[in-house]
């Protein structure tokens, strides 16, 4: 994923902008919230119908999209809220490629199961 310049957490008060006015547009992307996750969404890519409802509903804009197709999750910013899994309208016809369960195309697994 994109390389972000990590925000400095050590500026003394003499180096902050008066009023806390933020000069960098869209810099909330540099604030990594993915570490807050305790559950991670997994998507069965074959059975996904590309309806884009998960992308519409994600409150953190953490569904990655290329040319109108979902390609994955932005793990730097996904907080594991599970809204994508809950809103996904598609039930799998064969067991989920990640979880082996029936249910939706997007399902949630404990974050502890992942190495990265």
């Amino acid at each position: 994923m994109t390389q972000y310049e990590t925000p400095r957490l050590d500026r003394p008060w003499t180096e902050v902008n008066p009023g806390g006015v933020v000069l960098e547009p869209g810099n909330s992307v540099t604030y990594i919230t993915g570490t807050w996750r305790t559950m991670r969404p997994v998507r069965d890519t074959e059975q996904c119908t590309q309806c884009l409802i998960c992308w519409i509903m994600c409150p953190d804009a953490a569904i990655a999209i290329v040319d109108g197709q979902v390609t994955g999750f932005d793990h730097d910013h996904c907080k594991g809220c599970g809204i994508c899994a809950q809103q996904c309208p598609v039930k799998v016809k064969k067991p989920h490629s990640f979880t082996g369960e029936m249910g939706k195309v997007i399902q949630m697994l404990p974050e502890s199961q992942f190495e990265d």
Partner: protein, 398 residues
């Protein structure tokens, strides 16, 4: 110096005239007695096309300050006016305006906070907001509130300051009282306030900024430290703007308006219109040989501690007159007393006997004999060396 055109005006109109001459970009306000006439007359100027101001009639004072914050964040020069519960209703927005460092000018026509309901003058409203990070100026007369309001624009917008300013006057007493007020020529005011160049504008899509963003535990403190540094260093800026205005108008604009303080044994510290009542008594007592003095701060926030200490450190006894009670403070004293006591102690001054007099709450009339009794008390206290009651009440039925 330019000649002022003197005319009979009440304090509310002194402010609306100043606003007319300043011609701010945006004014968003909601009516409340005794501020109503300020905005009522200004809205007539808007309707008559005399000003270019975008006038926003809003549904509440909270909405008024919110609209002002939005307009100021867009880079506009913004003014508004309120009083009492109106100021209280916009309380959270005061902190937002000062926190984002927006140079809004607010005309406060001091009125008692409910409840019970009272529309008359006391300082509980602006005193309740004294921690909100706004500069506070207090005017004794219609002339002073006119002068202060114009200076407020330059003070607030100073690039090293960028702090909103409250320009206060006593409700009804000054607000509705007609006095001889000298207005500077329109062009002189225009030249004095100049054009406002906002450092940032939310409308500037070439240089997008975010204001009032989420400020976590790791940086909020540093932003507040920066804000307090600006307020702490604001007195020289206020003095410079005041000096420039004094030269223009020919009217002195001191931080502390003092009478007889050079050699005063007994001094009264008081804000706003009651300084006028007090001064007549001080003058009369001086004529009889008492070394009486009067100290009227024009600036209350930032608190001119060093100047007040220097003026009073050699007094035998000092009375502070407070037109508000800070409930639950030591002895139920008032805010001015609390600040004066702290200033004296912090400068190592323990000589003068210090007494607080709560007066004039809810518009209670304060008459010269009451002020005389204060000077008598001070004299008696100094003679006996005993302060007696720390907090007293003037004009209260006891």
């Amino acid at each position: 110096m330019v000649e002022s055109n003197y005319m009979p005006l009440d304090g509310a109109n002194a402010v609306s005239q100043a606003m007319r001459q300043i011609n701010p970009d945006v004014l968003a306000a909601y009516p409340i007695t005794p501020q109503t006439a300020v905005v009522q007359h200004f809205s007539q100027y808007v309707a008559d096309g005399i000003v270019d101001t975008e006038f926003v009639p809003v549904e509440s004072e909270h909405a008024a300050m919110s609209a002002c914050v939005g307009a100021a964040a867009a880079g506009a020069r913004v003014m508004t006016a309120t009083a009492a519960n109106g100021l209280a209703l916009m309380w959270e927005m005061l902190y937002i305006a000062s926190g984002v460092r927006l140079p809004i000018v607010l005309s406060v026509v001091n009125r008692a906070l409910s409840s019970p309901l009272n529309i008359h003058c006391d300082h509980s409203d602006s005193m309740g907001a004294r921690d909100a990070g706004w500069i506070q100026l207090y005017a004794e007369t219609g002339q002073e509130v006119y002068d202060n309001t114009i200076q407020a624009v330059r003070i607030a917008e100073h690039p090293q300051l960028l702090t909103p300013v409250m320009s206060c006057q006593d409700g009804f007493i000054t607000g509705h009282g007609v006095e001889r007020v000298g207005l500077l020529p329109d062009q002189a005011v225009r030249d004095f306030v100049g054009t406002y160049q906002a450092r940032y504008s939310l409308l500037d899509t070439e240089h997008p900024v975010t204001m009032g963003a989420w400020d976590y535990t790791d940086y909020y403190f540093e932003h507040k430290r920066e804000q307090t540094e600006a307020m702490n260093g604001s007195l020289p800026i206020i003095e410079a703007v005041s000096a420039e205005y004094a030269e223009l108008s020919g009217r002195a604009q001191p931080i502390l308006d003092m009478y007889g303080m050079d050699d005063a044994d007994y001094a009264i510290i008081v804000l706003s219109s009651n300084a006028g009542t007090t001064r007549t008594v001080t003058r009369a007592l001086r004529a009889k040989g008492m070394r009486a003095g009067l100290l009227k701060p024009r600036v209350y926030r930032p608190f001119p501690a060093k100047q007040i200490v220097e003026a009073t450190e050699n007094c035998k006894a000092v009375a502070v007159l407070d037109r508000a009670i800070s409930f639950g403070s030591p002895g139920g004293s008032g805010p001015l007393f609390t600040d004066v006591a702290a200033a004296l102690y912090n400068h190592g001054v323990t000589g003068p006997i210090l007494i607080d007099y709560i007066y004039g709450l809810g518009g209670r009339d304060t008459l010269p004999p009451m002020i005389e009794s204060v000077y008598d008390d001070l004299q008696a206290a100094a003679a006996s060396g005993e302060r007696g009651d720390m907090v007293r009440y003037l004009g209260l039925r006891e």
